[in-house]
Symmetry: C4
Subunit: 225 residues, 4 copies
């Protein structure tokens, strides 16, 4: 595959940022050992940058990152790509607005996924970030497009950038890999808080109109313009 | 706005201390990503120093801190102020004894807030620091004075420096920003301990007179004179 | 008070080790802000070395440690001693075999204390370290000998180096300050594990004779001779 | 005992790697104080390298590691071996495919062990790593071969590299010490997630055929070839 100098520069930058973003997974205690991964789409190319399979977070450097096409075929890099590459690739093929994907087995989000229950929208923070309940995707075996298809179909039906794949764990998406990492951090945070709230009773529900107003405001006003 | 040299010096000191106090929020695991903020009143001026909106804690330096008036209007700084600025400003306008305000979505305190339940005063540490149960404030949408008014009305009715805003999270106050941060740390600590105590039964209640005696002693005797 | 050169040397060493042992309280997440303290008896003197009141763990150095007599009266040091000094002093006056005392409000141990329930001996580690259930002491107000008396009377009735003071938190003792710190770490660890075991059912009991055999072996065989 | 130069070199390498692997126990919060240990078989010799008894993780260096024979008798080193040495040795004598053994009292795994309940296989991650439920071994007193025999008999009846010894804690095995440490990390992670999933209901079961397919794929495809 022949790449322009610009594409090569973009890939070099993405390898660095994707490698570094994995440290947010460990810092926020979303992963143990090698159990989670971040990828980024290469804008303008049918390519993605993703973590190599089974490599410790301590050993991730820009050079260890691998480049695949959007069917998960290795294009560049010396290591085998993450075993979740097919799921990431499916998402990029079917959701053109997505520039980053993250997968973890973070504890509380995975606990909701194990029961197959969505996380109810009972916190202003959930309304802000997820725009409603955080949905559950189907149980799917690894090895073909089942996981990717389950992610895409579930995300298309909601405003949430996160889906809890049943008996498996959360996948999150974003315009960039950093946004997808933020969603992975937030889904675990609210999964934990709502779990704990439920342990001693039932949270007060939020009305649909309050959820809508909070979501609209947060998506348009928050942060630096 | 023309400031005296003394006011400029005070602001410079507050920017440094407010920036640094945010590291207590991360160290005590009260926040994830950018989800909490500290502010300080500028003594003798109708001004406050507060965190900029949506900036990572790693990137906070004294120079990134912003100065607003007590209606939340930007006076000094290059970044937009925290989206919670209006609530902080309302508190400073209505509670003149308050010199610092902190807002987080810390897990256990927010779980009590999600159920709309106050934290009962069943530990000597709660009597010491909060002088009774830790109260719940009303549900309020962001965007006007609703949150600030809910905080102030709830705090005025108790001895507690912390209020659990319903479906949202804790706000704490203090004579200084450091005192407000201490209250934010303590409210999460006791929210967690009392939650866990309740999971396997019911804590033994403390009598009102014991709470009063503990609170009076702690407020007058603890620490260095 | 006139001290021998040897006593002065011993005190200098204890100030250093007691200051350093506080870092085990933070490392093991037994304390927040300034909410726990370590002391050591000065062997051969009616003196103890203890943490100053309300000072951050970051700011503790050997020079900030204070020396009091065994009634809690300041003998040496520029800061006021911990507000728990009277309880530590009472323990040293009445339990001559004790060389170190630790007090924390660690989360799980304090949760058992809030309910006034002893931690049952359902783990080999509890049999090893505590020789049976970890007992609850009475509710006692700070300000006189009530807390110290409650600790001593409870400890005398068991083999445990830890007591859960009701609605308050754990106190632990040991032949040295380091041993008391170890007991503080272990009591929180087993309080957490047994709490979690109880959340989904009932632990299998250990027989009294198995507890006795485990305790006897651990006290005589473990570690380096 | 006379060793070849090659054996001496292997032992030197194992002392270094076993010392270093203990830092994974602390990093993953599987142990407190001195409450867990790692060992490695010396390939081609009836020897093992193991942690010394009662030594802090901070103080572990390659030189402090001890070498014993496969009956736990000290062969090389200045310190007494771990009090769990007999259990490790029994495993090496009876399971020739095992090259590493780890023992901890990690919180959630030990909580399942306290109730004597296996961890059900309700997550893809459990199917991948453990091939089914994680079994409970018998209650056994320290001091003879009871613990080792309980580990070996339980492991032989399953595909799991982990066993929860009743009222005690997990033991894990692997082809290398690093593999056994990975299993110790994973058993605590899934013990925690499944515990939390159970707190608010019942996880959806996985079918036996799905577990078999996931396990077969993971054992053959994951990681770098």
């Amino acid at each position: 595959m022949t790449l322009t100098a610009q594409a090569r520069g973009t890939i070099a930058e993405l390898k660095e940022s994707v490698a570094r973003l994995h440290s947010e997974l460990t810092r926020n205690e979303l992963v143990v050992w090698t159990s989670g991964n971040v990828s980024a789409r290469v804008p303008g190319e049918d390519l993605m940058v993703i973590k190599p399979s089974g490599v410790s977070y301590d050993d991730l450097t820009p050079d260890t990152m691998v480049v695949t096409d959007l069917h998960g075929k290795l294009v560049h890099g010396e290591l085998a790509p993450s075993s979740d590459t097919a799921a990431h690739a499916y998402v990029y093929r079917h959701l053109p607005e997505v520039g980053g994907v993250v997968h973890t087995h973070s504890t509380y989000a995975t606990a909701w996924a194990a029961r197959g229950e969505p996380i109810p929208c009972v916190l202003t923070m959930i309304a802000d970030e997820f725009g409603g309940e955080i949905p559950v995707g189907p149980f799917a075996l690894i090895g073909d497009d089942s996981i990717g298809r389950g992610i895409v179909e579930t995300l298309r039906a909601t405003r949430s950038p996160a889906v809890l794949m049943r008996n498996h764990g959360p996948f999150t998406v974003g315009a960039t890999a950093r946004d997808a990492v933020k969603a992975a951090v937030m889904v675990e945070d609210v999964a934990r808080t709502v779990h704990i709230a439920h342990q001693l009773g039932t949270p007060v529900p939020l009305s649909g109109s309050d959820v809508d107003r909070l979501h609209a405001r947060y998506q348009n006003v928050y942060g630096q313009r």
